[in-house]
């Protein structure tokens, strides 16, 4: 009994020790990795522009049932806070938010605010409608009401080309504004093509390397590891040089006589594929190689000795044993490929940019953080799904580098 208790105590102490050793990293990642990503997820539904500048209008709008035009108290609160916002120059955030849904709202808002009288001429409803006809349209107020809610599905819906129409149901946006589904499709397509190429090039290479004597394969492995260790920017820059119009590849092709004049190989899809396959190929070769190294040649020999042709022996005996390596390599390459930014940004054209590019674009250039966060959230969701599949199939602790 005493022994049992002691054993339990020791066991508990070991567990506590383990937790204490892991805790610093856990806390660090929770604060500097999870919290930022969580904040990004929150940003994708954040709708605080109007409520923060016009709190009374926001609460009045939330109390309204949304049918037709809002009651006079909404108009009154709005007129008062509009004038106040004009005075302290805090309207631009609200204007920006409304412009996402009604393109000319910025000018409507500022035109209405400029020189707004302190007292209404009749009711505020009449006064505002007289200053701009937009305020007598129910649709404007439907948008205002949506902008007054503390959270909004607007950005997440927009990220999948959906919007809420005047009647409040989710519909596809008009064809000329539907771009994001195409961008996601393009992103997955590019990652898939890159994965297939990496497998096609990586499988025979890993197979050959694994069948060589260790001394030779270690030597050749250096040629796989050198690019793996070389800066992505060095490799991307090298491809820009190689693929340019006067670059070595165009010159060689002309010299052979394959092409008459230089062809465009960079700043288009060809450049993206070539550079991405080059950068991600080691991530395919390394897991394949480590799996193939562990396969005993005796099985294939046994199959051939039992009368299988080399092809049958490969297909029925060798290939199935390499499935874990294929799965690990393909998932890894695909996961990394889906999130790529640098390489398409440097060697792709306007039509080759992936989701990451638009996340960066909305963050740094148009400062539409809601849209950046929404696209990022959808991309994150897709990646986590793939990671989950990877963890189920391969196991996270099997992820190895080199």
């Amino acid at each position: 009994m005493n022994l049992k208790a002691q054993l339990r105590r020791t066991e508990r102490r070991r567990k506590l020790e383990a937790v204490a050793l892991v805790a610093p990293l856990f806390v660090f990642l929770a604060v500097f990795f999870l919290a930022p990503i969580g904040l990004m997820l929150v940003r994708s539904v954040d709708n605080s522009e109007l409520p923060s500048v016009m709190p009374d209008t926001a609460s009045a709008l939330r109390a309204w049932d949304g049918a037709g035009l809002p009651p006079e108290d909404v108009f009154a609160a709005f007129a008062r806070e509009l004038a106040a916002g004009q005075r302290d120059r805090s309207l631009s955030g609200v204007a920006k938010r409304l412009t996402y849904e009604i393109p000319n709202m910025r000018s409507v808002l500022f035109a209405t605010a400029r020189g707004l009288p302190d007292a209404p001429d009749g009711t505020w409803r009449q006064t505002l409608a007289a200053r701009n006809p937009a305020w007598s349209e129910p649709e404007t107020w439907a948008v205002m009401r949506r902008a007054a809610a503390p959270v909004t599905p607007y950005y997440l819906l927009a990220a999948v080309d959906r919007e809420i129409d005047a009647s409040g149901s989710v519909v596809r946006v008009s064809a000329d504004r539907a771009i994001y589904v195409d961008i996601f499709a393009r992103t997955f397509w590019i990652a898939a093509v890159v994965t297939v190429w990496c497998l096609a090039l990586g499988y025979p290479l890993a197979y050959k390397l694994a069948s060589l004597p260790p001394r030779v394969s270690n030597l050749l492995m250096i040629l796989v590891l050198l690019p793996f260790w070389t800066s992505i920017l060095v490799r991307t820059g090298a491809w820009v040089v190689l693929l340019q119009r006067e670059g070595p590849i165009n010159e060689t092709l002309q010299w052979i006589g394959l092409i008459g004049e230089p062809v465009q190989l960079v700043y288009n899809r060809v450049g993206v594929y070539v550079a991405m396959v080059h950068i991600l190929l080691p991530f395919m070769v390394l897991p394949l190689y480590s799996v193939m190294r562990g396969i005993s040649p005796a099985y294939v020999r046994a199959a051939t000795s039992l009368g299988a042709t080399p092809f049958t022996a490969f297909r029925r005996v060798y290939l199935p044993q390499t499935i874990p390596g294929i799965g690990a390599g393909c998932l890894l390459v695909f996961i990394l490929g889906v999130g790529y930014y640098i390489t398409p940004a440097l060697v792709g054209g306007a039509g080759d940019q992936m989701v990451s590019y638009f996340v960066a674009f909305f963050t740094n250039q148009t400062i539409n953080w809601g849209m950046a966060a929404a696209l990022g959230s959808v991309l994150l969701l897709a990646t986590l799904l793939l990671y989950w599949v990877y963890a189920r199939l391969v196991g996270v602790d099997r992820m190895r580098m080199g």
């Binding site: 610093p24 990795f33 050959k208 690019p227 260790w229 800066s231 999130g339 990646t383």
Partner: protein, 278 residues
């Protein structure tokens, strides 16, 4: 050497074709992997201003320009500072965590492992945007401190993975023996465990260093003109006007990666030798 090129005399033509074909593919793919990197080296010694062959002549002018430019030097300095700091933090945090993860099974262990590895798989742009939103109100954007913290998170998985791999081959009886001889846990760790797992820790640290030194996406979001890092400087160079200065910088980075690879190879050999002895 026999199995490399020679086939048994009774090999059929199909077998011979397959054999030659496989070698051809292997060589082509290896060439595809390595040649693009090597092509950029001679271009950095060009005396002309364009990045194409044939070279008009040889000169070191682009290296002079690179090493004489305050822009490049300060970005190199920033990169080294951030990478060293991130490596230090990531190595300490990651090694401790790997020791803890190996020690005992506790509830949520696999979930924790997934969390620790996740910075490796979450798209960099998402980390960058999240960190940008998170740091902006804290005043950490436009500072090397912010970049260091972000890079530490990105580098930690590599340390945890490599150290965990080394720990799998570690005989825990050794630290138990130390404890039974009266060593306290810290002494046992520094005198017994650490020297044995050191190759794993060092290669984890090298991975961490490369991760930070090569990282550009987060740097693009977090750094202003004052805190430019080397990759960021290269990114701008490749995008705006790719010149032989970029080739010179690239060549120096290639030399660095060859150095790092050599260290890794030495460590791997040492690890194998140690395991061979035991």
């Amino acid at each position: 050497m026999r199995p490399i090129l020679n086939l048994p005399p009774h090999a059929t033509p199909a077998q011979r074709a397959w054999h030659v074909g496989l070698w051809a593919i292997t060589i082509l793919v290896l060439g595809f992997l390595v040649l693009p990197i090597l092509v950029i080296v001679p271009l950095s010694f060009s005396s002309g201003s364009f990045l194409n062959f044939p070279l008009p002549g040889l000169s070191l002018r682009w290296y002079q320009e690179l090493l004489g430019s305050e822009r490049w030097l300060s970005s190199l300095r920033n990169s080294v500072v951030v990478a060293c700091a991130a490596t230090l933090f990531a190595t300490i945090l990651g090694t401790l965590a790997a020791l803890g993860l190996q020690r005992a099974s506790f509830p949520g262990r696999s979930l924790l492992l997934a969390l620790v590895i996740s910075p490796m798989v979450v798209p960099l742009v998402i980390v960058a945007v999240g960190v940008y939103f998170f740091y902006a109100p804290l005043g950490l954007t436009g500072s090397l401190v912010g970049l260091t913290l972000a890079h530490t998170a990105l580098a930690v998985p590599f340390v945890v993975i490599t150290v965990s791999a080394t720990l799998q081959g570690f005989d825990t009886n050794l630290s138990r023996a130390a404890a039974s001889l009266g060593a306290d846990p810290a002494t046992a760790f520094f005198r017994i465990t650490l020297p044995i797992i050191l190759p794993g820790v060092v290669s984890g640290a090298l991975f961490a260093f490369v991760t930070s030194f090569d990282e550009v996406v987060v740097a693009l979001f977090l750094t202003g003109p004052q805190e430019r890092t080397l990759p960021r400087q290269m990114f701008d160079g490749i995008r705006e006007n790719i010149s032989p200065v970029i080739a010179a910088a690239a060549t120096l980075l290639i030399v660095l990666s060859i150095l790092l690879m050599t260290v890794m190879e030495v460590l791997r050999r040492r690890g194998e030798r140690l395991r061979g002895i035991r």
